[in-house]
């Protein structure tokens, strides 16, 4: 197989039992969107569709034998993806459905750490289904619910009809507090437009931060009409998600740290980010950034999962675009003050 072969995009669906995951999956399998999906599920369970491209697979987390506890992959996915990719042409994309309590990290890391999987597929986005009514309870009794939101590129806030507008605002503010960069869609019956969850390119460095209007806008100084933040129904809220503020619902242990600075000295910045991801890796769920490198005409974009980080030149800075560096960490036990100070020390 040659390297130039197109990589098949993979969407990961997370969410608790009852969050609407199966409803969304059934829509992906049955709606007429012109694409064929292979779906990897834990149990055939409630998927009422018979399709030879639905593969049942036992969730199997493997620690890599390199002494790093956060370097985990899903062994079953490696096997299933390898099998599926031996018969290309049957499908255009893959959806991985995880169990309610699943940790999304090993799923995502599989697509970066396993060489065979990485050459044939690419992670497109992690989509978290959240039940608006039960999220506060879930956050109380499990860390996984929080991890799933923290790790998501897209959050489908489902069953909004079961809560009051005030409760909904609180739940959304909580999601924002956990993850300031995810795109949130309010829905009932998982009624999100499929093009808002599929083919997002969230891990594609050339696209990642472009289609994300909320990325790092921590100061909210932009006009609210200029973005495509979609709310499928009842779009009555006021868009003031105060990033960095405490969640109105307690029991949240994930935090995000947004950093902003000027042009960076590459001799300082790259060793710094390397060291941060090595030392803080286990605490970092996601990191995303746009970096202005001194004397570089291109924007440099980076993204990471735990200790895995990748970066690339994205596109030239536009005329009049402010050359500034912005970086967001989502994780636990991160020191905002220390990160900000050491980040600023990398400025040119």
């Amino acid at each position: 197989m040659t390297e130039s072969q197109t990589q098949i995009p993979v969407t990961v669906l997370t969410g608790y039992l009852g969050s609407g995951k199966t409803t969304l999956l059934n829509r992906i399998l049955s709606e007429n969107h012109g694409k064929r999906y292979a779906v990897i599920v834990n149990e055939f369970g409630e998927i009422g569709i018979d399709n030879e491209l639905i593969v049942e697979s036992d969730e199997e987390i493997y620690e890599m034998n390199n002494g790093c506890v956060c370097c985990t992959v899903r062994g079953d996915l490696i096997r299933v993806v390898e099998g599926l990719m031996r018969r290309p042409g049957r499908f255009d994309a893959i959806v991985v459905e995880t169990t309610g309590l699943a940790d999304p990290v090993p799923v995502a890391q599989t697509f970066f750490m396993d060489e065979d999987v990485r050459t044939k597929t690419k992670l497109d986005a992690v989509v978290a289904l959240v039940d608006a009514k039960h999220l506060p309870l879930r956050l109380k009794d499990s860390r996984e619910a929080e991890d799933q939101i923290a790790f998501a590129d897209v959050v489908v806030l489902n069953k909004t009809d079961l809560v009051t507008p005030e409760e909904l605002a609180d739940v959304e503010a909580t999601i924002r507090a956990i993850n300031p960069t995810a795109k949130i869609h309010r829905t009932t019956r998982a009624g999100v437009a499929l093009d808002q969850v599929l083919d997002r390119g969230a891990f594609d460095l050339s696209r990642a931060l472009e289609n994300d209007p909320h990325f790092l806008d921590s100061d909210h100084d932009h006009a609210h009409g200029d973005h495509d933040h979609v709310h499928d129904e009842n779009c009555g809220h006021d868009h003031h998600h105060e990033h960095g503020d405490a969640s109105p619902i307690h029991d949240v242990t994930v935090q995000s740290v947004s950093l902003r600075g000027g042009e960076m000295d590459p001799k300082k910045f790259f060793p710094w980010i390397e060291k941060i991801t090595q030392m803080e890796g286990p605490n970092i769920l996601r990191l995303k950034g746009i970096i202005a490198i001194k004397d570089d005409p291109d924007r440099y974009v980076i993204q990471g999962v735990h200790m895995i980080m990748e970066g690339d030149h994205q596109r030239p800075w536009k005329d009049g675009e402010k050359h500034e560096s912005r970086l967001v960490f989502i994780g636990r036990e991160l020191s905002t003050e220390r990160l900000q100070r050491s980040f600023e020390a990398c400025q040119a």
Partner: protein, 323 residues
Amino acid sequence: MPTVAPLDLDGHCVSAVFLHDVPHFALADGAIHRLDHGHKWQEVHDGLLAATLDQQKSRLITGGEDGKVFSSAGDTSELLAEAGRKWITSVASGPQGAIAYAAGKTAFVRFADGKVKEFQHPRSVEGVAFSPKGMRFGVARYNGATLHFPATDGKPVELEWAGAHTGITFSPDGNFLVTTMQENALHGWKLSDGKHMRMSGYPAKVKSLSWSAKGKWLASSGAQAAIVWPFSGKDGPMGKAPLELGTRGNAMVTAVACHPSQDVAAIGYDDGMVMAVRFADLKEVLLRRPGKGAITSMMWDREERRVVFGSETGDCGVIDIAG
């Protein structure tokens, strides 16, 4: 000069073998093709994942995405077992017509009389293989391997080594067990005393293993050369360096097949090239020029003059060494 009789098929070749003297090619789409006075084929599985020869080398045992295990040769195939909707990810053949297969966390043994015995594991069964001696088979699993004794109700033997073990093979004398790992390494156990053998340093995962005549050497893929470990001493390759055969700077070895009687290996590369290399003096003979894709499977015939090969891209064929 070696000559190649090509067979251009459409799809990934999982296994290329001789059944008696007839070349057979099992494709991932589930069809088994053969060159038997012309190109013929039969549809066996809906999605074929794993294949192995039976012990007489007369039939091909296959497992598929359809959860079925078949035994096939020529234009006949016999359904041996079904395991529901789970994929059959590994198959092995044993003595007295027994076969083993894996689906999810369960390893199964089917005896010649059709009786099936299940062996549950706490984690996925990644690979299965029979020992050449007695009714004993091994399972590659997370953090090691397990030996089962299906004919008796003997307690399984657990062999522990941290990491994910994905494939498994016994040495032909039954003294050693070797696994391929998720990391780029092999792991071995000397079965008499459980001593460990670490065989690492590969730049890629090892996907193909082949024992040389009398089990003196174990050839492996996963590097720019075939890495061939010495197993003639009582402690196997411990403390010894492997041979590196057929080193190429710009290609990776993806398949190996040792000659049935001499210390020679056929080596297949990711660009489709095939070479034969002699262990003693590293002398190389080009058997096939690069093709469309990586070589996935090879086997020598009984007369030791032909090599059948399959590739990821379906450009398969038979090499006649003598021309």
